[in-house]
């Protein structure tokens, strides 16, 4: 069996599972985000009165945070009261983006199953955990019953070998994968990432690959946990856990490979995540807004490279740069390390941790005709405001260099390490 199959088997309390099986599996963490007041309605519709395992349920407030409208404020008020009443975890508006906060809080460890009203729950694969996006009804059902049914997915292997060039990031790797394999390659399936490039990546970089697995259509993702994962979990997870492993005779449904030695910065052009080109091949047009942040591009290493590029420089006078640390923990570290000062002095607008304008709710939505280059994960029409705006997905390094020039710019020439050599 694959490690993912072993996780499903263990949580379903059966000896073996295989792709296509339908199993009822225990859910270790059931997560609702602040957008879905509808979960409370479905909880009632399903006859819910109490939560089976309150310690396994969390509400996170990162999208409409702080509330921009009376409607969202009312939704959040109801959800807070529900959380207080049922004694579940509540991560309020000061904490940061959904899965980042849950991982930092030690609520996720290898071998667990999490579901969330957050399609980017696939990020948990970076910790060797199964994370899946669901809708409000499934979420409410899991709150009541502690388990839901799953179809065990086929598993695709994407092997990534080679050494990344300076200024090329995990985001460029996943965009390249999207451009090659396209956004429906993994529908109904799971993705495991392997290879030397993945092993050598920081945990934060691996999170980028797993985060955007959903953009390839995947149900969930997986990277075999190693010392980097154990170090991260360190004092966060005090309970013991076993790390599942894949049997050597396991047969993948499909296998793909990518060599990243020569990879250059990538850009996903409007309005599809798989409309990917080498950055240098994209026609240059004035960029109105740059965004560094979200569950994809707002971790410490992202802010670090942005600060390295922007320190002592100024952003283009006709371009805005919004920077959103993914969590309070990251925000504080970026403050201690001086990154926020460097970014603010360069002209960045630094906001509270959270999702920011990524899904078009507030804090930097776009006007018709505007162009935005963003380190976030989706460039769908209307995603960040007007459907007549254009979104280009890129790495945090590319976004930082772009903010300086006001047009799409390769970050390579802006890195200190490059200028010395």
């Amino acid at each position: 069996m694959h490690a993912i199959e072993k996780i499903f088997a263990q949580k379903a309390n059966v000896e073996r599972v295989k792709a296509g099986d339908r199993v009822w599996a225990d859910v270790d963490l059931t997560v609702n985000v602040d957008l879905y007041r509808t979960v409370l309605a479905e909880f009632e519709n399903l006859g819910g009165t109490k939560i089976k395992y309150p310690e396994r349920v969390a509400f996170t407030f990162s999208i409409n945070a702080p509330a921009p409208t009376i409607q969202s404020a009312s939704n959040e008020k109801d959800m807070r009261e529900f959380a207080y009443k049922h004694g579940i975890h509540l991560f309020d508006i000061n904490t940061g983006v959904v899965q980042q906060v849950l991982m930092e809080a030690g609520l996720v460890w290898p071998g667990t199953i999490s579901i969330a009203t957050d399609s980017h729950a696939t990020i948990l694969g970076a910790l060797g955990a199964v994370g899946m996006g669901v809708g409000a009804v499934d979420l409410a059902a899991s709150m009541i019953k502690g388990n839901i049914w799953f179809r065990v997915p086929e598993i695709i292997k994407i092997n990534i070998d080679g050494e990344l060039q300076p200024g090329v990031m995990a985001k460029d790797v996943i965009l390249k994968v999207l451009g090659e394999l396209k956004q429906d390659v993994a529908i109904y399936k799971a993705i495991e990432y392997t290879g030397s490039a993945v092993r050598n990546m920081s945990l934060s970089s691996r999170m980028v690959l797993c985060n955007m697995a959903v953009e390839l259509g995947a149900k969930t993702s997986y990277i075999q946990p190693d010392e980097k994962v154990i170090d991260f979990l360190g004092s966060r997870v005090t309970r013991t856990y076993e790390i599942p492993t894949t049997d050597p005779d396991f047969k993948y449904a499909e296998e793909y490979s990518l060599d990243v030695n020569q990879l250059v910065p990538q850009v996903a052009c409007p309005h599809n995540v798989d409309n990917v080109c080498d950055l240098d091949d994209v026609p240059k047009k004035p960029v109105n807004q740059c965004l560094i942040g979200t569950c994809t591009g707002g971790r410490l290493e992202d802010l670090a490279i942005a600060a390295e590029i922007l320190k002592g420089r100024k952003i283009n006078a006709k371009t805005r740069l919004i920077v959103i640390p993914a969590s309070k923990e990251i925000y504080l570290k970026a403050m201690e390390l001086g990154y926020l000062r460097d970014l603010i002095e360069a002209g960045a607008t630094v906001t509270n941790p959270g999702c920011g304008p990524c899904l078009g709710a507030h804090m930097g939505v776009l006007a018709p005709g505007e162009v935005c280059v963003t380190a976030s994960n989706r460039n769908f029409s209307g995603r960040m405001g007007s459907p007549q705006a254009e979104l280009y997905l890129a790495s945090p390094a590319t976004v930082a260099a772009t903010a300086i020039e006001g047009i799409l710019t390769n970050p390579r020439g802006y890195l200190k390490s490059q200028q010395r050599s």
Partner: protein, 166 residues
């Protein structure tokens, strides 16, 4: 299971959930208010033009993107009778079946249907009949479990049955 018959509305490949219901409407709670913005990102006139029972025809990866259940909520409440597509994104697929919105995978459906054609679907057999052209074609049959959920009117009545037996 009720008969599914209506006029075809054709959309393209990769119709994402931001096109089905843009993120700025996710704070809405009332299903009728959500439905008023159905498909707004792809065709702002759709919600006004669609009649109860009409059928959406699309290409690959319909419903990709967000986990938002608002997408099938919008489609169900605006009156869409079914969606036929080359393929569906998995979270959308599961949410739609949970809410009792019939989906049918039928490869190449966009080439077999013109905008406005009258279609009839036999969900149990996975068949689509194009009444306007007189042709019919086979899609993929739904699993027995998905059919059971759909014929119960969604997962909610079924879930209540399961919990009552617990």
């Amino acid at each position: 299971m009720r008969k599914i018959k209506g006029n075809a509305f054709i959309f393209g490949h990769n119709i994402d959930t931001d096109q089905i219901i843009p993120g700025r409407y996710l704070e809405l709670v009332n299903p009728k208010e959500i439905a008023a913005h159905c498909m707004e990102g792809a065709d702002p006139t759709f919600a006004d033009r669609v009649n109860a029972g009409d059928i959406i025809v699309a290409g690959k990866n319909f419903g990709c993107g967000s986990s938002r259940e608002h997408a099938p909520i919008a489609l169900v409440n605006v009156g869409v009778g079914a969606v036929i597509a080359d393929s569906f994104a998995r979270i959308f697929y599961r949410n739609a079946v949970n809410l009792g919105l019939p989906l049918l995978i039928c490869k190449g459906i966009m080439e077999k249907v013109n905008e406005g054609d009258v279609l009839e679907i036999n969900l149990k057999e996975g068949k689509v009949s194009n009444i306007s052209t007189g042709k019919s074609f086979n899609g993929e049959q739904l699993s027995d479990y998905a059919l059971e959920i759909l014929s119960s009117g969604g997962i909610k009545p079924l879930f209540k049955k399961i919990t009552a037996e617990m």
